[in-house]
């Protein structure tokens, strides 16, 4: 019997070796085929599909004259260098990343647009996602949409990668006057504009008036109120999951302690997280959580919202996008106010003032023709003009980025026009926060801030490392990611030296199967 099995084992060995050789041959052959296949650039293919159903149109409000009138079709066409509507209709593909409530307003804007520009046919794809790789992979295959709505920071990365059109080459510099400075500033990188904003978003402090008599203005007041709430109502003063954070909300406190995410060292943008500001900010929240027990370290912002709705916590930090849910739960008890001043430094906690807006993909990514680019320009100018932005504010309470719409909204609040009445005061608190905010950095380096912060902040709040170690670790991880992704130049050590220990590790793993065959396992 053993003769048979020995020979079978030998055969077995040769079987696997043949298998490996066969696999390698196939890989080599296929790589050759692949290189041939992709030697020429992916040819862009224009996809034409049927039109979207058009819905009812609505009344258009009166237009006020300004240097650039983006509400009247004729002036819009002139802006993009068209004297009259072209004879043949033009189709543009649009990826719409509005939420279902924001879409109610977008449908009306779209209907009006198609009335005023019958020659532009808009193919809308709802349900697209903000700031993900979906747009990138589509671009790689040359099938990106011509118009895409994205957040300013991820738009910045796309622009730096050459996937997004530089609008400054197509529109006059005076275009910036149409928009709220912080918003258009968000969409500017090294002096060129790559997108037009349609709203501004940032976090504010929501509080439950039942527990909190007045909005705390400084962190000391915040602590005092939170302790008070704890004692009397036995609910959490604050619910802020600092450890689940990726640094979007924490950046406000970091700024409050005088920190800044980036600085320039001999002409190169470098991270600047390892500062006393970061250490103090981390310790501030550590103190509130572990020593004073007035902050609940929530595992996710969703849980914070649930506790706030269930009157289990007095204060949370969230954006206006969850406003409806809190209105429905708390009603008049809901209060909103800007983040407090950090008592230690006297500086205000400044949240990121981000913005979402419309950008146009480069012809290489979307295969768009020059005429389609012109139509796209008209489209994005139109959907970010006064009427559209104001409609977005009225329907979905998005904070307007269009200057005229922003002022109109402010006057509405002053005159207490919003229904129900207490909503006006809440909105005022929210809009007030717009003055105390920091620009949402839109340089490509920003993409690598989030995970670096999260890794070390979560370890710090798990009480595994000190604040100093966390700050240092964060910056080091940030620098490493930048180097890995070629955004920070440094000389890599010569490869062979430090590779040896790892190769030693790999050798036993690879040798094991052969050893096994020789001796009895």
């Amino acid at each position: 019997m053993n003769v048979l099995s020995k020979n079978r084992k030998l055969k077995g060995v040769s079987g696997t070796i043949i298998a490996i050789i066969v696999v390698i041959i196939i890989i080599v052959a296929a790589v050759g085929v692949y290189l041939v296949m992709t030697s020429h650039h992916p040819t862009p293919t224009v996809s034409t599909t049927n039109s979207l159903i058009s819905t009812t149109s609505s009344t258009s409000t009166t237009t006020t004259t300004s240097i650039l009138n983006t509400s009247n079709p004729q002036s819009l066409m002139q802006l993009v260098g068209l004297t009259s509507a072209p004879s043949t209709p033009v189709t543009i593909t649009v990826w719409d990343t509005y939420s279902s409530s924001e879409n109610q307003s977008f449908i009306q804007t779209l209907a009006q647009f198609e009335q005023e520009f019958p020659w532009i046919h808009v193919k809308v794809t709802p349900g697209a996602q903000v700031g993900t790789s979906q747009f990138e992979t589509a671009a790689k295959a040359g099938q990106a949409p011509i118009v895409y709505r994205d957040s300013s920071d991820s738009g910045g990365a796309l622009f730096a990668a050459g996937l997004v059109l530089n609008l400054s080459q197509y529109l006059p510099p005076s275009i910036t006057s149409l928009y709220v400075p912080t918003a258009i500033n968000d969409w500017t990188l090294n002096g060129s504009i790559y997108g037009l904003p349609d709203d501004v978003n940032y976090i504010v402090m929501f509080y439950n008036k039942h527990f909190v008599p007045y909005a705390p203005n400084t962190t000391d007041q915040l602590i005092q109120i939170a302790e008070q709430v704890n004692k009397t109502y036995h609910v959490w003063g604050i619910a802020y999951g600092a450890s689940d954070e990726y640094g979007y909300r924490f950046a406000a406190w970091f700024a409050g302690y005088g920190g800044q995410i980036f600085t320039t060292q001999n002409g190169q943008i470098v991270p600047d997280l390892n500062s006393s500001a970061m250490v103090n900010a981390l310790n501030f929240w550590y103190n509130l959580t572990y020593n004073l027990h007035i902050n609940y370290l929530a595992p996710s912002s969703g849980v914070e919202g649930q506790l706030f709705i269930a009157n289990q916590t007095a204060i949370i930090f969230d954006g206006p996008w969850d406003l409806n849910e809190y209105l429905q739960a708390l009603g008049p008890n809901l209060g909103a106010a800007p983040l407090p001043v950090v008592s230690q430094t006297g500086l205000r906690a400044e949240p990121f003032i981000g913005s979402t807006g419309w950008l146009i993909a480069t012809p290489q990514a979307s295969g768009a023709s020059p005429m389609q680019i012109k139509a796209a320009l008209i489209f994005i100018l139109y959907v970010t003009n006064y009427q559209s932005d104001l409609r977005l504010w009225d329907v979905a309470h998005d904070i307007p980025a269009n200057m005229q719409a922003y002022n109109a909204a402010l006057t509405e609040l002053k005159e207490g026009k919003l229904q129900p009445a207490y909503l006006n005061q809440i909105m005022e608190g929210i809009l007030e926060q717009a003055q105390y905010g920091q620009k949402f950095p839109n340089i490509p380096q920003m993409a690598y801030y989030w995970d670096s912060f999260h890794e070390y902040a979560s370890e710090f709040f798990a009480q595994k490392i000190s604040a100093n170690q966390a700050a240092q670790g964060m910056e080091q991880a940030f620098v490493q990611s930048l180097i890995q992704n070629g955004l920070m130049s440094t000389i890599l050590p010569p490869p062979p030296i430090f590779l040896i220990p790892y190769i030693m590790l790999l050798v036993p793993v690879l040798v094991a199967p052969i050893v096994k065959i020789k001796g009895k396992w």
Binding site: A19, S47, I53, S100, T125, P126, G127, A128, A141, G305
Partner: protein, 293 residues
């Protein structure tokens, strides 16, 4: 007498423990799903799992189900997407079965040069993770204009059918060759004999592959989203559900009650398929033990 008594006690003990374990595991299986049902019957969009009071709700709301089944977004609606999902999953199941059984038949019956190397190669290649196949697959299918249902089915089938092919091989091994030979003599070609006789005799494996193929395609979100996004009427139930529940764009608080209601509706056909094929499927696996010692 003592001997019999000891044996009896041991039997009672064994059965007792068995029932306790089964009951505990049964409760553990139902407990989380009970929450899904409770969330689907609430009108507030949050995910019920925190407050004990929600465990026994005072009032059941059908708002989530109503909204899910009635809203119409740009021509797309949940019933339409559910139908798309059933068609996609059904055809994926059929093609996975065909691919798995044909391969299993070839591995079991036909003598093919370097069969062992081929089988090892096919098996080992599936070790490659999804994270690495997602982008290349998208680019490949985009190049061949396959970003549609056909492409999706092609992308879903190999995973299931390669695993199922090996089980099919074992099951066909245990079927005597004379069954198909007789059919061939009676006037069927080898392929017809495979279709009408072997597929019928290897029904347990067919059932198993069908389930794996169906649920794989039915529940997928990532691949379907990247392929079907541009055409809202072609969406599958999972994409539609993620979009309606606001999970695609976290710009607004997600409507978890909608999400739970969608999951419940999607669960019904899946449960039905499981129960229908569960008996057949259990026999399929029995052939696994038939592997030659």
């Amino acid at each position: 007498m003592i001997q019999v008594k000891k044996h009896k006690i041991f039997k009672i003990l064994r059965l007792g423990i068995s029932y306790i374990v089964l009951i505990i595991m049964a409760i553990a299986s139902i407990f989380p799903l009970y929450y899904v049902f409770m969330t689907s019957f609430s009108n507030a969009p949050n995910l019920i799992s925190l407050a004990i009071s929600d465990l026994f709700p005072k009032h059941l709301y059908f708002t989530a189900y109503k909204e899910l089944l009635t809203t119409n977004l740009y021509g797309g609606s949940f019933p339409l997407w559910l139908r798309n999902s059933l068609i996609l999953a059904g055809s994926t199941a059929v093609i996975s079965v065909l691919l798995a059984l044909i391969t299993g038949y070839a591995l079991s019956r036909l003598d093919i040069p370097a069969k062992k190397t081929l089988a090892t190669f096919i098996y080992i290649v599936t070790f490659f993770p999804y994270t690495a196949t997602a982008v290349p697959l998208y680019l490949l299918f985009a190049k061949f204009h396959l970003l549609n249902y056909i492409g999706l089915i092609l992308a879903y089938t190999p995973g299931t059918s390669i695993f199922a092919a090996f089980i099919a091989k074992l099951s066909i091994d245990s079927i005597p060759a004379s069954y198909e030979e007789i059919a061939m003599i009676d006037g069927l070609s080898r392929f017809q004999a495979f279709l009408r006789i072997i597929m019928r005799l290897a029904l347990p494996v067919v059932a198993l592959t069908a389930i794996l193929g169906f649920s794989g395609a039915y529940l997928d979100f990532a691949l379907a989203y990247s392929f079907l996004l541009p055409n809202i009427r072609a969406w599958t139930a999972t994409i539609g559900l993620y979009y309606m529940a606001g999970l695609i764009n976290p710009a607004s608080a997600p409507a978890y009650n909608l999400f739970a209601a969608g999951a419940v509706i999607m669960g019904i056909p899946l449960m039905a398929l499981f129960i229908v094929s569960q008996k057949m499927m259990t026999r399929a696996y029995s052939n696994l033990a038939g592997v030659k010692q």
